[in-house]
Amino acid sequence: MSQQVTLTIDGHQVTVPAGTTVLQAAETLGIEIPHLCYHPALTPPAVCRLCVVEWEGARTLVPACVAQVRDGAVVRTHSERVLRARRTILELLHSAVDLSEAPDALAYGQALGVDPQRFADGERRHFPVYEDNPFYVRDYAKCVLCWRCVEACGDDMQFTYALSLGERGFHTHIATFFDAPMPETTCVFCGNCVGVCPTGALKSLEEHLLEQGIPPEHLSAEKRRRPPLEGNRE
């Protein structure tokens, strides 16, 4: 039997198995902690920091998606210190990325009273929409850099490693080898990346074409006009 741990979250005592994350423990109490990069099927990269909580005695806030419960811990998930950080992170995100198709991020923002225009005077991340293969499109102006696609393409699902991160800081972006079009990479078009993307940055070509107003009956003709897969390096 696994060891049990008792801690206090927002004033409520809760007993859960050791190894449980604060995010999961809070869930058992019905307390929802916002999370953007976390995905149950993937290694938590702990990059978005929306899930940060106050942990009594800790110098800084801690990310609930990876912080494991400890006996006697006292955690606050919605203190002003926490909310101020979450609000600012979302406002910063709005200022750089098109979140119009990121329902979770939008809902969190609403709940937190986020002002999407707060940092609107800053530089946005611009990218062309890559329509370079017959299966999906990549619109990185909508990408929040949650790393999910990279992980799904790599160690967590497909072991194909077509994707990585390029450059750094504000200019970090999802990259292929020298930004090559997908058909020239190791991509096998499994679609796992599209499946885990939370923002609409990756979507199937079909969905994209429908959004562009292509009538359903013209879809297959339109798809055939995309670059074929020749030259796919193995």
Partner: protein
């Protein structure tokens, strides 16, 4: 290095004996024999006569804390790695020294490279490590070559390799170079870099002593931290504790730069004050007044002139909201526009953020943009509040120390910056009246 070094740019503070800098400039840094003639490798021989636990006890008793910025007790770090049941274990020397205003590690590596190699060997013996790495900042070519030469000579002479000095203990060292990323000085980013990955910090815990380089227990220390170790082994913890104030024992290197007459690395106890450090450097250049001192580099804070009599001990600085960090004491005079200085600092963080976590990836960029807009003469009434919110998010929610400190220098002068805007949309060209 062909900089016009017409006089040494390192020395002990007058009235104080040099320990860390003792051999620098005196010993031939390329010669093992000369190092031995200057007392080199006596400490390792002494250490091999002790048990690893005894050495760890000594380092703990000395009160030595890390000189890389975080001031973590070195003995406790070693003990925690030594206790791990897992092998192999690693000893890593953090020689990435990239904090603006910091150059002490470089001076040690160039001037006394064997001391670092000897100290790492002692650390490896104490924690049971067989492999070490020195990660040297890419710009430090001379330091890299001196260290490479020292490692090769030590190996040749049996100070490194299988069965060091005929004992049962084996240890060797490899060198690695950085390639232009300040964040790789952060210990877990440094591991990632050695492992062939992007130098992005890891979420802690687990801490390096538990899962560090290649996922193994690892002791990582700063160059200067290591340089203290042979002295502690030879002279004992009590000797160490007699130097400096009780809460900050041992010798310390200060990197004094900026508008002083004789910038350089100065060794002294942590009871010295900022004013004394400026005076030791021959004071300000003629006709210049101190505007502020940036203590701790870009990750530090500006200490205004009225606090110059603060000792540089960790505790005394903490009391005025500052931190010695890496030991940078950067003197800004009244001829420099503070806004320019702040622009450099915010640009630095925007340039060096690894981009992993959102608060820093986005916050460092926005912070820099706002400061640049000020330079162009435009401000918004809500700038201060927005910057404070960014600072809060970065300090509280970032993964690593880079984001956590990226706003501290700016925040320490924010009230002054804001005063400049009052009464108009224009930022005055000079802050000299302050």
């Amino acid at each position: 290095m062909t900089a016009s070094a017409d006089r040494p740019t390192w020395q002990a503070i007058p009235g104080y004996e040099a320990h860390l800098l003792r051999r620098v400039g005196q010993v031939d840094p390329t010669s093992l024999a000369d190092y031995e003639a200057h007392g080199g490798y006596r400490a390792l021989r002494a250490a091999l006569e002790m048990t690893p636990a005894e050495i760890i006890e000594m380092v703990k008793a000395s009160g030595l804390v890390g000189r890389g910025g975080a001031a973590f007790p070195t003995g406790i770090k070693w003990e925690s790695a030594a206790r791990q049941p897992v092998t192999p274990r690693y000893v890593v020397c953090n020689a990435d020294e990239s904090e603006p205003g910091t150059f002490k590690d470089r001076v040690l590596m160039e001037g006394d490279p064997f001391a670092i190699v000897e100290a790492m060997t002692i650390a490896a013996y104490a924690v049971g490590a067989e492999q070490g790495y020195i990660y040297v900042r890419g710009e430090f070519r001379a330091a890299y070559e001196r260290l490479a030469n020292a490692v090769a000579a030590a190996r040749e002479a049996g100070y490194l390799g299988k069965r060091v000095l005929g004992s049962d203990f084996s240890f060797d060292i490899e060198l690695r170079r950085g390639a232009g990323a300040y964040v790789c000085g952060e210990e877990t980013a440094l591991f990632e870099s050695i492992e062939g990955k992007r130098g992005m910090p890891r979420q802690k815990p687990p801490f390096p002593t538990e899962r560090g380089l290649f996922g193994r227990p690892t002791v990582i220390n700063n160059v200067e931290t290591f340089a203290n170790v042979p002295h502690i082994v030879l002279n004992g913890p009590d000797w160490f504790r007699r130097i400096g104030p009780p809460d900050a024992p041992g010798p310390k290197l200060f990197c004094v730069s900026g508008a002083v007459e004789r910038p350089g690395v100065y060794e002294g106890p942590m009871s010295v004050t900022l004013r004394q450090l400026v005076e030791v450097c021959g004071g300000m250049r003629p006709g210049r007044k101190i505007q502020a001192v940036l203590v701790g580099g870009a990750a530090g804070t500006f200490v205004p002139a009225e606090h110059l009599d603060t000792p540089v001990s960790f505790e005394a600085l903490r009391a005025i909201g500052a931190s010695l960090g890496s030991g940078a004491v950067l003197v800004v005079d009244d001829s420099v526009d503070m806004l320019e200085v702040v622009e450099r600092i915010t640009r630095f963080f925007a340039h060096e953020s690894c981009g992993k976590c959102y608060p820093c990836q986005l916050g460092t960029q926005r912070q820099w943009e706002i400061v640049r807009r000020w330079q162009a003469g435009h401000h918004r009434p809500d700038d201060a509040e927005r910057l404070q919110d960014i600072a809060h998010a970065m300090r509280e929610a970032s993964i690593c120390g880079l984001g956590q400190t990226a706003a501290s220098a700016l925040m320490s002068v924010l009230p002054r910056m804001v005063t400049r805007f009052e009464g108009g949309n224009h930022v005055s060209a000079s802050d000299a009246d302050h």
